[in-house]
Amino acid sequence: MRYLPHSEADRQAMLAAIGVGSIDDLFLDIPANLRVHGLDLPKAAGELSVERTLGRMAARNVPAGSVPFFVGAGAYRHHVPASVDHLIQRSEFLTSYTPYQPEITQGTLQYLFEFQTQVAHLTGMEVANASMYDGSTATAEAVLMAHRVTRRQKAVLSGGLHPHYRAVVATTSAMASDTVDALDADPLGTEDILSRIDAETSCVVVQSPSVYGHLIDLAPIAEKAHQVGALLVAVFTEAVSLGLVEPPGAQGADIVVGEGQSIGNPLTFGGPYVGLFAARMKHVRQMPGRLCGETVDAEGRRGFVLTLSTREQHIRRDKATSNICTNSGLCALAFTIHMTLLGETGLARLARINHANAVELAEMLVEVPGVSLLNESFFNEFTIRLPRDAAGVVEALAAKGILGGVPVSRLEPGRPDLADLLIVASTEVNTVDDRIAFAAALQKVL
């Protein structure tokens, strides 16, 4: 087997050095009657064979890049510079572990420090951690953190929060014996969340742009939350929006969490992605996840280390702020490299292109008879109402070679009243031809 260096002669020599007669002598602690002597699995296969097997599976899927593509709702297809994927595959990044020995992992530590700074600046916050698993788990962790900070147990969730995020928060909170007050789905972006905030509230969780694409003015919500001693947890799923939209930190958010996939990372059917988590410095010791900090070495040179680990499970065990043990290091690196290449200039321009494409697409689609737009405001994604079942329309579009968005029924299957809604995204990868093809096809299938 190509990954195993030993020859049989090596194995025999090593067994002799150990002082046992056979490999089985090393497994004597396994009860004899439970020792396995073979698995009902195929035999080893060479690279060519494995590539064929996996290639056949991959070929059964329709890659986003092969068709006009308008699917978003929490994951976005952007163009990632070739250098990003090249750099993250460097052995020294790819095959390194958590930087427990900082003297020989300054590469990882410095990029994490850069990542934290970028996320803080992007979100308008004071501090960010070294990444979470993804946006949804980051949101659940933010709610748990709000509980720790406020010592209250009720989170109010906006109806504009991505339904999957809502489900993750609800599951985690329920398991942690906390309460979730989730507002109804808010496709119009008009919910009254202020009235749900009270003295029991630990935090209000608001996504902007919302899953339906609406930009939410967070300032009044922050004000109300702060009045009653609650925190505002701001969520985003499209990091590129922050190039053009006022960041939650400037609108009064106490914790900002989001999905970082859009910058640097491919779609990959939902993962691995990279959760962004930013907060105020005064709450830093209640933050979950890894933090990288600056310090000096024995010769006084600047260096970086993992720090404040007294919050973490490997030190605090059952008193830890979270059970989280890893971060999403390589995805964070992809984010950081792409972000560095963009810079403020590139990010802002990218955001403008996304917005312009979406505006143009919205204008085209509302020209299709029977289609109406639900959004007053949006970034690169919006919701339209169709004259019939959106899921059927999406299937009909797919049959025509167009991936035309996410039917709300995919996310809210229990809500037949929302079955005619379609969430549509348009990023810089869409061409004007793609948009025209979409509008034309939509008209045909309706």
């Binding site: 009860p31 698995l39 009902d40 296969a45 494995v50 572990y97 560095t340």
Partner: protein, 493 residues
């Protein structure tokens, strides 16, 4: 040469990505256009590439040498797996595009599940957890859901003192009280000690097997029986599953739930601390509680079940762990690894991992000390700092001295139950020649420590990108983001 931060070398107005400004359009951002300056200076592409290449050169990696971090399983990461994960049919599909356009993705998830179930002898699998600790959370949530379904007020979880920190953290997060199970002298768990703690309040035991001392829990069947007899569940921390693939099926040992670190046992790259992937396998006692989404095998082929609305009788998921479907990119890599090894190769890998750990043990047993005497270990071998007594050299010093010899140190000071622990996991990827050199190097260091060459250890590392770093200062005066020496407005001029 030193490498500055991007905030020091970047320039306002510079970008390494060429994009055309959109033609005129009417913004529809409400009043929420960004006013706060971004303050993210950019670099041209050549500068950015050089910056990150140079940073990478300050890292140690599996590809550059033996990386014997116990419990972390730093084995070879095949590039075939990277290539497969980048096939457009996997990397460029959206989690919410119509399921009719991704049958191959669902097929891959089903196939991965089939392998995991066959290797563990369990009943079902939840693929979605994002990492090992997340899988632990998933498994314990299923247990909590099962207990609640039975309507029983069980709020205690037993955890051996040698456990990974995630175990008590997970239990605590779910509101369980953690009760510690004392270890025997050799670090294993005594069924009698477990029995003494079992009660109608006990929800579960969380046991790592092979345990964190590198030993297979030889009484695991008796422990499982006792736990089950008490109406509790057996959660197994699968961090060390790589030692027993093809040698024992945890389902037959009595385990009810176990997470599997795909990045350990199945070698998806560690990537400097993630992303991982932590699928959880369940026994028939817990299978029904597996969270959404999951893959249901139907006659016409596998189906991805995403919502409660699609459930069938007997499916009672406890909820949802993540948006979307889990770490697909890692599923591809792990399945590529499995297919490459086959059932026979996976078993051989476990055997070689155990062989290598014991070979290191044999090479060092006369000069280093083991906490419970010289006995057969599994995939990792545990030493304590007894052999350093009186030398003035600590485990930390010893580890740092290894850096100067060109090695990444082993895991230090874990498990906590052993004084000055040094946990060495060579993995099956190392050749005999590599291990011989490693053993010789460590023997030489031991001799030097005993010979009183203390400075060499205390001053180590001397040949690394940095000398020892001041961790206390980092924690006392946290600097977690870059701050410009001068205000932004001035610096930008």
């Amino acid at each position: 040469q030193e490498e500055a931060l991007i905030f020091e070398i970047g320039r306002h107005g510079t970008t390494g990505v060429d994009l055309d400004e959109p033609e005129a359009f009417t913004p529809r951002l409400g009043k929420l256009q960004r006013r706060l300056p971004l303050d993210l200076p950019g670099l041209s592409e050549p500068e950015a590439v050089r910056h990150y290449v140079r940073l990478s050169q300050k890292n140690y990696a599996i590809d550059s040498g033996l990386y014997p971090l116990g419990s972390c399983t730093m084995k070879h990461n095949p590039r075939l797996n990277e290539k497969a994960a980048r096939l457009p049919g996997f990397a460029d599909i959206h989690p919410l595009q119509p399921l009719s356009t991704v049958p191959g993705a669902v097929e891959l998830m089903a196939e991965l599940g089939r392998w995991l179930i066959e290797m563990t002898g369990m009943t079902s699998v939840a693929l979605s957890p994002k990492a090992g600790a997340h899988g632990e959370l998933c498994g314990m949530m299923a247990i909590k859901a099962a207990i609640e379904a039975r309507g029983e007020p069980r709020d205690i979880v037993l955890v051996p003192e040698s456990a990974h920190g995630t175990n008590p953290a997970t239990a605590a997060l779910l509101g369980f009280k953690v009760v510690t199970v004392p270890a025997r002298a050799d670090g294993t768990v005594d069924p009698e000690a477990v029995k003494a703690l079992l009660s109608p309040q006990v929800a579960a035991i969380m046991l790592t097997n092979p345990n964190t001392c590198g030993l297979f829990e030889r009484d695991v069947v008796a422990i499982a029986a006792a736990v089950h007899a008490a109406g509790a569940y057996f959660y197994c921390d699968g961090a060390n599953f790589n030692a027993i693939v093809g040698k024992a099926k945890v389902g037959e040992l009595g385990v009810d739930a176990m997470h599997i670190n795909l990045h350990k046992t199945f070698s998806t790259p560690h990537g400097g601390g993630g992303p991982g992937a932590g699928p959880v396998v369940f026994s028939s006692r817990l299978a029904a509680f597996a969270p959404l989404p999951f893959v249901r095998i139907e006659a016409e082929g596998p189906v991805l079940v995403e919502d409660k609305a699609e459930l069938q009788a007997g499916e009672t998921p406890f909820g949802r762990m993540v948006a979307f479907h889990g770490q697909m990119g890692m599923f591809v890599r792990a399945l590529a690894y499995m297919l490459s090894h086959g059932g026979n190769g996976l078993r051989q890998a476990s055997e070689d991992a155990v062989l290598n750990a014991n070979y290191v043990r044999a090479g060092l047993r006369d000069v280093m000390t083991q906490p419970s005497g010289d006995r057969t270990c599994m995939h990792e071998v545990l030493f304590d700092d007894g052999f350093l007594d009186g030398t003035g050299v600590t485990t930390l010093d010893f580890a740092k001295a290894m850096i100067d010899e060109g090695y990444h140190p082993m895991t230090m000071y874990f498990p906590l139950v052993v004084h000055g622990a040094m946990l060495i996991e060579p993995t099956e990827s190392e050749s005999k020649a590599s291990l011989d050199l490693f053993v010789a190097t460590l023997r030489d260091l031991v001799m030097k420590a005993k010979a009183g060459d203390v400075a060499r250890f205390r001053e180590a590392p001397r040949f690394a990108p940095r000398r020892r770093l001041d961790e206390t200062r980092a924690a006392r005066q946290p600097k977690l983001t870059y701050e410009r020496p001068a205000p932004f407005e001035q610096a930008a001029e």
